[in-house]
Amino acid sequence: MATPRVRPLPVTGYSNLNALGSSRAEILAALAAGRSGLGPPAESPGFETAVGAVTAALPELPAALAPWSTRLSRMVAALLADLDEPLRRARERWPAERIGVVLGTSTAGVNATENAYQAYVAHGTLPFDYDFRRQHTFGALLYVVSNLTGARGPMWVTSTACTSSAKPLASAQRLIAADIIDAAIVGGVDTLCSLTLRGFHALQLLSRQPCRPFSSQRAGISLGEGGALALVEREGEPIVLIEGVGETSDAYHISAPHPEGRGARDAMAAALEQAGCRPDEVDHINAHGTGTPLNDSAEAKAIGALFGDRVPVVSTKGYTGHTLGAAGAIAFAFSAYAIEEGWIPPSLHADPLDPELALNVPSRVTRGRFRRVLSNAFAFGGSNVSVLVRAP
């Protein structure tokens, strides 16, 4: 398998939004306190489950962008507002057409289309303010981001289910390496919606209670929403560096992971290879860790095969829920926190640990020097992405 040859990519700003909060301080406080953002859904879907809903007030879009206003685009606006200063510097440094936008989402505007379709069924017409091309499509998100930031470079949405927002980090690496752009806004967002709740319920993958990744009592996923964005630049003052990204496929099953975690292991190995880094140089893994028996088992085997049981492995899904297409970007943000802050949170509700998993899963805040952090995202379609981030 070919491993791309690209150099470490400076991250000069990042923002994060999820059920724990909309500011770095709020999110770190919740992580440090072991406080989950999961709770019952605002509207009952007709079955018992817990979700990680974003409760922060979201900004309205400027009047000119009102027809594009959806929960998804307003989440992106909130994340961009937090990147305002590094974006301003990037605009001064690089021509607008050399600033790209590569974002990930799995649901795009499904939430808006669901609401419109309900009205369509009830009244026979779509709501007057619903526009499929401005609210549902992936291009709508790009239009909003381009207008809010002034970025005019290549722009696309990657949609590979739960790896959607991890892949843009690699795409930006390649675009910069190929001298097509100098900077990019990367990451992704996803919103909660009825379809995903009912779909995962139909697959019998949802936990009734808040999820418990790596626990012997784990019983499935809790869905969440949110997103994270990062500004990456050819050169600049890095907060962290993206050192390697591994992307593989399971070629096994459309919705179930390979039971031995074959593709997951290959993705982690590819990220290490790209970085020229040994497994024992990785200080922490932010796992995909969704909390289903099969997913956690496959990932644990993959981690064990490469890293043994030395490296501390945390799933942050117990705090935020599984944010689907946004999960990879949010995991990146948590990796960056670990490097910057020098501590990692406990893997929430993992006790009692599943002894079959043979992982080092911390049950309390762990302090240390985290130079290199790997994060995982795995998805329907057998898509696997591992992102290796290191301190500058």
Binding site: E247, A251, G381
Partner: protein
Amino acid sequence: MTATAAVGIAGLGLWLPGFPSLAAWRAGRHDSEAQAPPGRSLDRVSRRRASFLGRAMADVCAEAMCDAQVDPATVQTVIGSAIAESATLLGLLEQMWRRKEPVSPAAFTMSVHNAASGLISISFGNRSFTTSLAADENTPAVALLEGIGIVLATGQPAVVACGDEAAPDGLIAEEHTWGPLAGAVVLTPLQPGSRGHARLRVRRPGRATLAAADVDPAVSRNPQIGLVDLIAAVAQGASGCVGLDRGSGLGWGAEIEPCRDR
């Protein structure tokens, strides 16, 4: 101006309503029965699961990979589609809101944008890089950019396929609806002595100097039509710039120059 480094185009594949392959379209052999792609290149289980789009994407990838003589088990795959599995999605919304039924788990798993790339990787036993992306009418251009990026970074070939099913009934104004299509190109690194159809650079602005492909008007409104225009120009051995969005996108173009040894 933005312009990529050059790569080779080593394989082509095409599906249009009535034309199940590039060869059929070039020869003008219209088959009125061929209104849905057969998905012959998918394994039996995947073919049963695949949507119209999934079957079309698999078949054009297979045709292009065969043309380029690359290994389907290792080639990197970029799939572009503006709305991808929207028909499956709308079926699920019908289940939920009109028929008040539980969501079909099988349909739900196939509603993701990367359903086609997942089935292709499973059918071809391909464990390497795959991705699925979207950018409305700019999808062909950015799929090529992603493909060129991965080819340059790895030195290995990539198949870039773009397609969209017919526009969903009722959700898009009738004047903006379109007919289905799918196309694929295999991109390779340029090496001394390498064989292929053409050399390719993607650029913006990319003012078209080559004529657009002659297709059915409904198909010409498909957001992926730019890739068909590129495939048609390369197949004809043309030299010049192909517009990748027929004026409805950000103005990306594909500069092509035929390889002399083909």
